[in-house]
């Protein structure tokens, strides 16, 4: 293995760059290094002004999503040596406005997440000394969707979101579905009204790019399909059944 590798990194500062450009940096190639380690090497030793987000370096905080050789990746879980001999191209995530260098503006997701009411909704609460029983099978019904780390790779991969920013998007729908399927929750109806009124959900063609790039096998594409199905059923019911008989 050669002991150095070249990274081509997007640099962009709106104050002095008209548009993003690529800058090449040569860094040591070490077998235990992930792409994020190489970025930190650049920041510490070559150019302190390179900006990117990161925190946990163990694939769980969801901060470090970028585009690596064209594919949305968590850079702390992507090994540099997999791209040897290089060069490795590191760009910001697609489908989001770029604030600077590798940092994109994901605030849109936060608004969409809040809109989908990702919390337990119940008509009557039990007192705090009682628990809601939930068998392992009931837990398994939503567990997968609860594994979402909000890393946004699925939005970066989603063609529908790229074209139609009003689309709630894969993660927000997966998280809504996480609560819908939770045996302790009674809010599915409320959430359905919010999420299915926009046509984005119907635009999803089940290409499944979101599911492919998900680092935690959350399967947002599956959540969207489930959602469509429920929404269609509700729609049919609204014709077949008399008003209020939902």
């Amino acid at each position: 293995m050669a002991n150095r590798i070249t990274l081509e990194v997007t640099r962009y500062h709106p104050a002095h760059d008209e548009k993003p450009r690529l800058e090449a940096y040569e860094v040591p190639l070490r077998k235990e290094w992930v792409v994020l380690d190489a970025l930190n090497y650049i920041k510490d030793h070559l150019d302190g002004s390179l900006s990117f987000r990161w925190s946990c370096r163990m694939g769980v905080c969801g901060s470090c999503g970028m585009t690596v050789n064209g594919v949305p990746k968590l850079t702390c879980a992507t090994f540099l040596s997999d791209y040897a001999p290089g060069p490795v191209r590191v760009e910001p995530m697609k489908n989001f406005p770029v604030l600077r260098d590798l940092i994109v503006d994901t605030s849109d997701f936060l608004l969409k997440l809040a809109k989908s009411k990702p919390w337990i909704i119940r008509k009557v609460e039990k007192p705090l000394d009682e628990e809601y029983f939930q068998t392992p099978t009931q837990l398994d019904a939503y567990k997968q969707f609860s594994m979402c780390i909000n890393c946004m790779l699925c939005y970066a991969a989603c063609q529908v979101y790229g074209l139609d920013p009003l689309f709630s998007g894969p993660a927000a729908i997966a998280l809504a579905q996480r609560y819908n399927l939770d045996s302790r929750d009674q809010g599915a109806g409320e959430r359905l009204d919010i999420l299915s009124h926009h046509e984005g959900i119907w635009g999803c063609t089940f290409v499944g790019e979101c599911t492919k790039v998900c680092p935690n096998n959350v399967d947002p594409a599956g959540a969207i399909q489930q959602y469509k199905l429920t929404a269609t059923m509700e729609w049919v019911k609204s014709f077949v059944l008399p008003r209020g008989a939902k």
Binding site: H45, C56, L99, R100, L113, I120, N150
Partner: protein, 581 residues
């Protein structure tokens, strides 16, 4: 450039403690406006990384007194026992509240919440969500917090100082990262929930954001830091990355083996090597004793040489694929991803790694610090329930119990205060000017941030690690002071406003240097060995002199001055710590 906004209570930090506090305020006083200011989006906070679980008495054969005793003996009698009693009583209630909010706790076949064993606990009482407990707790809290309209979030704002007037904390100054704008956020009360400071050391399980900011903010505002010499090394970190392999791996039955495949802990007064896990024994002993045993084993030449220093092996193979996949899926994923090792068929190389800060901002049982209007909760605070050594799975419930308490107390206090003083604005303008002068518009500067940080981490590791001596600590204190001087000559490549992560790194480094100095000073002055603080020159515990909390104040010259305060003993007089017998 300066922006101003105003709230009743400002929370600095959106991790487990901060979010629990925010919800507590909204529930106790829905009319109060609450701000959650966080340098990362709340769900990125390091609570997300917690794996093993959260302790709270649950089974019929367990008792609050047992949990209290385990905690107090685990903390080598430095815990305040009134705080521990409150903690063990409220922990199960708080954990159940999270159940009601949707936390996906792991379950028994009949649907009841399951519990697992943990180190240093004599009964099984640790609630868990597989081995991503912190992740699920944090996302549950964050998602639940979204339903409270009175909570305003300041995501990606970095707090640089507290606004203090008339002896009262009345807000914060923060940098909005996306624009670089300085913002004054005034409030009637401020709660620090900024987490720990593991990044002061090089080899740590802690995320990049754990830089002791809140400790430094409080210390600079005149609040004392308590028990800063007590740093927890977790016995099982992956070499190079420092990624944690949770204690749950040992609770499920994992063995720690030296280079001869021998369960060496039996040589260190931790019990005999039984095939099945025994509570408060061997691999389920407390973290301080296990990390110390590693160093002893290394001295005997019985550790395994690895590319990143000596290691021992954590063996899970006998647990079988089914248990590993069901109970420890994240451990397996981390090993596969970062070490290319499958724990079902291979042993895992591990070594002790800096993990948790027992010390922190001194508070009472309601999170109040001695400075009026300033509260603290979570890892940044020292109530103290952790004493000289925290037990695994006590921190997550601590965030909930004391986050909620601090929230309620701050809400009650805020309700009685007048609006913040007008002239706070002048302080905020001063702070804006300081950031310009010292960093953004400074000419020259020769010291790269990375160099100073590396040197600090090296000093701490060499002098303030698992074993310390008076001589090495004195050297460390001197060198840290030198680094403080060199920090004034810091070099920045980035002078822009927009998302200047280099400026943030510089500000974090200044906090870490301040915090590191207090650690070295307290460790030097505590001439005894207790829990995680082991002095080679004073190997015994000395209750006569040191059954006391160290309290560090910042002098006007910016140096640490250490005093002592008594430990509260209610029902458990100091005794020997006994494990494995």
């Amino acid at each position: 450039m300066l922006d101003i906004s105003s709230h009743d209570v400002v929370l600095v930090g959106g991790g487990g403690a901060g979010l629990r506090a925010a919800i507590a305020i909204s529930e106790a006083a829905p009319n109060l406006s609450v701000a959650v200011v966080s340098k990362v989006y709340p769900m990125r906070s390091h609570t997300v990384a917690a794996e093993g679980g959260a302790a709270g008495v649950r089974l019929a054969d367990d008792s609050l007194d047992d949990h209290a005793y385990d905690t107090i003996s685990g903390g080598d009698w430095l815990c305040d026992q009134d705080a521990v009693e409150v903690f063990v009583k409220e922990a199960p209630v708080e954990l159940m509240r999270l159940e009601h909010w949707g936390c996906p706790w792991s379950r028994e076949p009949d649907g009841r919440i399951a519990v697992r064993s943990f180190g240093g606990m004599k009964n099984t009482r640790t609630w868990f969500a597989a081995d991503k407990t912190g992740f699920h707790m944090l996302h549950t809290l964050f998602q639940t917090s979204l339903k409270y309209d009175a909570v305003t979030r300041y995501d990606e704002y970095y707090v640089t100082r507290l606004l203090v007037d008339d002896g009262r904390v009345q807000g914060v100054v923060a940098l909005e990262l996306t624009t670089g704008k300085v913002q004054a956020i005034t409030a009637k009360a401020v709660i620090l929930c900024t987490g720990g400071c593991g990044r002061v050391f090089r080899f740590t399980t802690n995320a990049a954001i754990k830089t002791g900011d809140g400790m430094a903010l409080a210390y600079r505002a005149g609040a004392p830091l308590k028990d800063m010499e007590f740093v927890q090394y977790h016995p099982t970190g992956l070499p190079f990355t420092g990624i944690l392999i949770t204690e749950a791996a040992r609770a499920e039955g994992g063995y720690l083996l030296n280079k001869d495949g021998y369960r060496y802990l039996q040589d260190y007064n931790l019990g005999t090597a039984e095939p099945k896990p025994v509570l408060r024994s061997m691999e389920l002993g407390p973290r301080d004793r296990l990390s110390q045993a590693f160093v002893r084993e290394q001295e005997k030449g019985r550790t395994v040489a690895g590319p990143y220093g000596p290691v021992v092996n954590l063996d899970l193979r006998h647990l079988g694929a089914k248990t590993i996949s069901a109970k420890l899926p994240f451990v397996r994923e981390l090993c596969l991803k970062y070490e290319h090792i499958d724990p079902i068929t291979q042993v895992i190389p591990v070594r002790p790694v800096v993990h948790y800060m027992m010390g922190g901002v001194h508070t009472d049982l309601n999170g109040a610090t001695p400075v009026k209007g300033l509260y603290a909760a979570g890892e940044v605070a020292c109530v103290s329930i952790n004493g000289a050594n925290r037990l695994g799975s006590n921190s997550l419930p601590e965030l909930l119990v004391f986050g909620a308490r601090a929230g309620r107390a701050a809400a009650a206090y805020a309700a009685e205060q007048k609006p913040p003083a007008r002239h706070l604005l002048a302080q905020a303008l001063d702070e804006e000017a300081r950031l310009q002068e010292q960093f953004l518009q400074k000419s020259g500067g020769r010291e790269p941030i990375a160099d100073l940080r590396d040197e600090m981490q090296k000093i701490m590791e060499q002098c303030a690690g698992i074993y310390r001596s008076g001589e090495s600590l004195a050297g460390a204190a001197g060198k840290l002071h030198e680094l403080q001087d060199r920090f004034r000559d810091i070099r920045l490549d980035d002078r822009g406003h927009l998302f200047n992560t280099e400026l943030i790194s510089a500000l974090e480094l200044s906090c870490m240097l301040e915090v590191a100095e207090t650690m070295a000073q307290c460790a030097m002055e505590r001439t005894e060995s207790r829990g995680a603080h082991q002095r080679t020159d004073y190997p015994a515990r000395n209750d006569e002199k040191f059954l006391a909390h160290s309290m560090t104040y910042r002098t006007t010259e910016g140096r640490p001055r250490v005093g002592y305060a008594p430990v509260t003993i209610t029902r458990w007089p100091p005794a020997e710590r006994v494990y494995g017998r």
